[in-house]
Amino acid sequence: MKKFTARFLLTPAVGSLFLWMIVPLVMSIYFSLIRYNLMSPGEHEYIGLMNYEFFVTDPAFWPAVLNTFLLIGSVIVITLVFGMALALLVNDKFPGQSIVRVLLISPFFVMPAVNALLWKHMMMNPIYGVLAQVWRFFGAQPVNWLESYPLLSVIIMVSWQWLPFACLIFITSLQSMDREQLEAARMDGANYVQQFRYLYLPHLSRSVAVVVMIEMIFLLSVFAEIFTTTGGGPGFASTNVAFLIFVQGLMNFDVGVASAGGLFAVLLANIASVFLIRIIGKSLEK
């Protein structure tokens, strides 16, 4: 009886969430199975898995998949390494600590599109960008970032955006680090590297898992940075799956193929999360 009441009271929340998820999903599945191009009106006849075939055989498909993984992987590695280093750096007391911490966190509050524009114009512009000035100062030829290293440029922008997130999680976690354990390690003769290896790293493993999981979810759908800077190019050099879906749906006006691509992305996310949960679930259980 009690169980029933509980279930009953949960129903509105669960129900609305379910609808929220199931309606777009079912619609996507439906669109992915019909011929549906906004430029060619007429019958929307059933065409089986042909939309999927179009999507997968698109010349941009494999580069996009590869770019997606490269983007996610690099950003995660960069934010983990630098996030941890920064968090450890600002963990010890120093004057102005709280201000520095706030400054460290602030890039997270910048909108992705604004972030991309800032990097595109202020930092990476080959003529008046800050990086160009630095290159010139050292007598080097300024780099045209967005054309020469399009994917790397996107990776840098996205990493800058997500570094504060990782940093914040690590800073919070470090605050619960036991001081006496560190002192015991010091007396046991552990130097800083050994303290990091045997005390900090195990202590932070949970936070690493959290950062990897959350970034994975959000980075699968990186779009604004690509749209506002490289536009996926040159060629497909900085096109990821999310951007490819956008190209199909809103530039080629092919809703059917775009939906098939969307469902492929869902599949990709699921495969990734299965692996992730396998690996990370273990570290979370402890």
Partner: protein
């Protein structure tokens, strides 16, 4: 020359002088207890010895070597922390072998040493567990094991029993004392509990406000306190302290010249309750605590000083009774106005 020597050790936290020039010599194999009220600087002094805080003044010598500014890992000391500070991600065996592993000790030797320590501490069955899967008492023993494995020159304990329940505390106290007897290791033990100090120590160091009040064997402190603070800190219930004025002319028969503004101290077991007229002071009984084997009678003199009497017979007095307090003349300590002792009880010498 003594084994561990503190010479005029000082420590400042900002403007706060936490340790005010401590001198102390500790012999090899001694069990030293630092005792004092909370905040008096016991932990700070221990941490200075351990090298976890920097020494701001004075010198620290261990076994003839000056270690005042040596890093803690080079001091050859091991510490048991109040929170045990076990490494949560390592098993018991890994916890105990960590220092040796970092020192690059041979694997076989490490294993032997860990197993030996585990045997002494009854931990053999738990070697592969993580600290989380252990009870408080077991964690405590792992922390001690971690220290034993290193075979340090000095063991340092910072209130190691304060996280245990009362029964386990007594048991562990006995075990640590036994361990000390077996290993014969020089030990410094910090506690705020005078019972631990009295039962375990070879010598007790009483601290107050970052300075040593007195150093001595437990009974020496009990019998010959050098000042009012030590007199009242050691002993339960604490020593009665009566202004000399209370006693009128009687005091003159005790000391001459009378210290103006001084006090007479007498332990509760040397105060007896008698019928009015037989004792030296009249008092009104506040309440009586009967503990079975003994009774504590709390009474207040006309000047408002509370006096405790401990009697091994069951007392028939009740709250509100007027009684006479009889002080055993051989067991009176006299303190001057500054709280320093003028004369200790004569009874001790006998």
């Amino acid at each position: 020359m003594s084994f561990l020597q503190l010479k005029n050790i000082e420590k400042f936290f900002g403007d706060h002088r936490a340790i005010k020039g401590v001198d102390l010599s500790i012999e090899k194999g001694e069990f030293i207890v630092f005792v004092g009220p909370s905040g008096c600087g016991k932990s700070t002094l221990l941490r200075l010895i351990a090298g976890l805080e920097t020494i701001d003044g004075g010198n620290l010598l261990l076994d003839g070597k000056d270690i005042t500014h040596a890093p803690s890992s080079k001091r050859d000391l091991a510490m048991v922390f109040q929170s045990y500070a076990l490494y949560p991600h390592m098993t018991v065996a890994e916890n105990m072998s960590f220092a040796l592993k970092l020192a690059g000790e041979d694997k076989k030797v490490i294993k032997e040493k860990v197993e030996h320590a585990a045997e002494i501490l009854n931990l053999t069955r738990y070697l592969e567990r993580t600290p989380k899967a252990l009870s408080g008492g077991q964690r405590q023993r792992v922390a001690i094991g971690r220290a034993i494995v290193r075979a340090p020159k000095v063991f340092l304990f910072d209130e190691p029993l304060s996280n245990l329940d009362a029964a386990l505390r007594v048991q562990t106290r006995v075990e640590i004392a036994k361990l000390h007897r077996e290993l014969g290791a020089t030990t410094i033990y910090v506690t705020h509990d005078q019972v631990e100090a009295m039962t375990m120590a070879d010598r007790v160091v009483v601290l107050r406000d970052g300075a040593i009040e007195q150093v001595g064997r437990p009974l020496e402190l009990y019998d010959r306190p050098q000042n009012r603070f030590v007199a009242q800190f050691i002993g339960m219930p604490q020593m009665n302290m009566l202004p000399i004025g209370e006693f009128g002319s009687y005091a003159e028969s005790l000391v001459r010249p009378l210290p103006v503004g001084g006090h007479i101290g007498v332990r509760p077991e040397h105060v007896t309750i008698t019928n009015a007229g037989e004792g030296q002071l009249l008092a009104t009984v506040d309440f009586v605590e009967s503990l079975g084997a003994e009774s504590l009678v709390y009474a207040t003199t006309p000047h408002g000083v509370q006096v405790v009497s401990k009697q091994s017979v069951r007392s028939s007095v009740r709250a509100g009774d007027t009684v006479s307090l009889k002080f055993e003349q051989d067991w009176l300590h006299v303190f001057d106005a500054d709280g320093q002792v003028v004369s200790n009880a004569k009874g001790v010498a006998k």
